[in-house]
């Protein structure tokens, strides 16, 4: 294999490009392997993070962040009737809807409407992203911050 390389190299005219190799070579496995491993590592970190969230027995909240800052937090367990929010200042066309334990981006002023198309979010880890607004709506599961409760569950 080394000989083929040197033959090719001799055919150059001095620029750094060289002839393209038109068939699969073993070196490509390195590229494919790296890409595959990157995919696996990112997938696992996301998966483990989700699992950690699922195991959390806390309450579910719908949280909206804009530019990384939290602008809206709603407790899903209290959400029976539909409630609409326009949590972004100066942007009345961006509407978040909370209903029946689910959240969604009802309306948005962005061009692609990708965030609206995502639909309802209900499980921890679900999210809808609106890049033009730099907004991320996601469901998180959090232990109540009040610390130790005297009971595990309440009957009402």
């Amino acid at each position: 294999m080394g000989q083929r390389f040197t033959e090719n190299a001799k055919k150059f005219d001095g620029d750094s490009r060289g002839k393209p190799i038109l068939h699969f070579v073993k070196w490509d496995l390195l590229v494919l392997g790296l890409v595959g491993m990157l995919a696996v590592t990112t997938f696992l970190s996301v998966y483990l993070y989700h699992n950690h969230m699922k195991a959390n027995t806390g309450d579910l909240f719908a949280v909206l962040t804009v530019d990384g800052e939290e602008v809206l937090r709603v407790d899903l367990s209290q959400s029976t009737e539909q409630k609409l929010y326009s949590p972004i200042e100066g942007n009345p066309d961006f509407v978040v809807c909370i209903e029946n334990g689910q959240a969604c981006i009802e309306k948005s002023n962005c061009k692609d409407q990708i965030c609206v198309a995502v639909g309802f979010l209900s499980k921890p880890g679900d999210m809808a992203v609106c890049i033009p607004n730099r907004a991320v709506l996601k469901i998180v599961s959090e232990e109540p911050s009040s610390g130790e409760k005297p009971y595990d569950v309440i009957s009402q």
């Binding site: 294999m1 080394g2 000989q3 390389f5 040197t6 073993k26 390195l30 392997g33 491993m37 696996v40 590592t41 696992l44 483990l48 699992n51 699922k54 195991a55 959390n56 027995t57 309450d59 579910l60 899903l76 367990s77 209290q78 959400s79 029976t80 029946n100 334990g101 689910q102 209900s122 499980k123 599961s141 409760k149 005297p150 009971y151 595990d152 569950v153 309440i154 009957s155 009402q156």
Partner: protein
């Protein structure tokens, strides 16, 4: 050139393989972490309320998902607001012909009728027309005239419901009659959830279906579950804590749903005899039992009965335990709860026998 190329390839290959190995070790150790202390929770909306199911055990994840699906299944059968449900089918055929139903629906209705007989009509699923009249079904509240109330009360009597076991049918014998399973559906569902969870490798579970609680097994530290009973006058705190397991704790109270008009508060718990919101001296009733359907029906029935008759009922049955909170704030608990139920700080409980 040949030699160095081969060396290069080997070096790269070694690097690549060692990275792979490292990742593999990391991953297996991480996945091993999860298996030891396995817990899973699902939160979802069903039967018009928020539900949480938490299980502990090797098959917890599978168990909670299966339980959730079972609840959705039951909702599709029991929901009065769903046109395609079996309850809707029964209601649409009132006074016309018997409706053919599945085993679950038949079972829950027979349990409901049995409860009606036991409580002498204090619990009655045929209360639906009255609930509609007062606007509790559609959230458009209304105070009806006494004529309207009487007309609606005419359609309320559990004895007008005919069941046929061989053909598995339910017949509402009077036209315009309707049944609403809201007073028993969640209790039945919690029993079914427990059944589903137990069929998996699950050691303990904590269930809350809109405030209808059921617990079984022991917590991680081998202690018993602590179930709080909500204070009807301050929902963020409890009147007392139950320390026990393998029980279902179901509470009914006027505070759950009501509306106020002209200074008077009308609650959603109806008295089947009068066709009006129950005028009870109780603020809440909590039934502690092994059976969720029983807990659900009795909590409503005993609320309607009022404190005296409720205590009488307990004395003559005693196959459950009860905690009553009167409108004066007095906390009464059946004697068999001594040692299990403890009043919270600032509260006092009187055990009755």
């Amino acid at each position: 050139m040949l030699f160095s190329n081969q060396k290069q390839i080997c070096a790269h290959a070694r690097q690549y393989l060692s990275v792979c190995l490292l990742c593999g070790i990391l991953l297996s150790s991480l996945s091993g972490c999860g298996a030891k202390k396995n817990t899973a929770t699902v939160n979802f909306f069903s039967m018009n309320t928020y539900m949480t199911i938490t299980a502990y055990g090797k098959e917890a994840d599978l168990a909670v998902e299966a339980a959730k699906l079972r609840v959705y299944e039951l909702e599709n059968l029991f929901s009065r607001t769903l046109d395609t449900s079996e309850v809707s089918l029964i209601n649409q055929n009132a006074g016309i012909k018997p409706a053919s139903v599945s085993a679950d629906t038949y079972k829950v209705i027979s349990l409901a009728l049995e409860a009606s007989r036991e409580t002498d009509g204090a619990f009655d699923i045929t209360i639906a027309p009255v609930m509609d009249l007062w606007g509790f079904t559609t959230d458009t509240y209304y105070v009806p005239s006494s004529d309207e109330r009487l007309a609606a009360a005419e359609l309320v009597d559990y004895q007008y419901v005919e069941l046929d076991e061989s053909s598995q049918t339910v017949f509402l014998t009077k036209e315009n009659m309707e049944i609403d399973l809201g007073g028993i559906a969640k209790g039945y569902a919690s029993d079914e959830v427990q059944r589903v969870l137990s069929s998996y490798d699950v050691d303990a579970a904590m269930i809350s279906l809109g405030g209808n609680v059921a617990v079984f097994g022991e917590k991680e530290d081998a202690s018993l579950w602590k179930t709080g009973i909500a204070d009807p006058f301050d929902l963020s705190s409890c009147v007392g804590i139950l320390t026990d397991t393998d029980i279902s704790v179901i509470t009914s109270g006027g505070y759950e749903r009501n509306f106020t008009q002209d200074g008077k508060t009308y609650i959603h718990i109806m008295n089947p005899d009068t066709g009006e919101p129950a005028e009870s001296d109780l603020a809440s009733v909590s039934i502690i039992s092994a059976d969720g359907s029983q807990g659900d029906t009795l909590s409503t029935a005993l609320f309607v009965m009022g404190s005296e008759k409720a205590m009488q009922f307990w004395r003559s049955h005693q196959d459950f335990s009860v905690v009553l909170v009167t409108s004066d704030g007095e906390i009464l608990a059946s004697k068999d709860l001594v040692g299990t139920f403890a009043a919270s700080e600032g509260n006092e409980v009187t055990f009755f026998s």
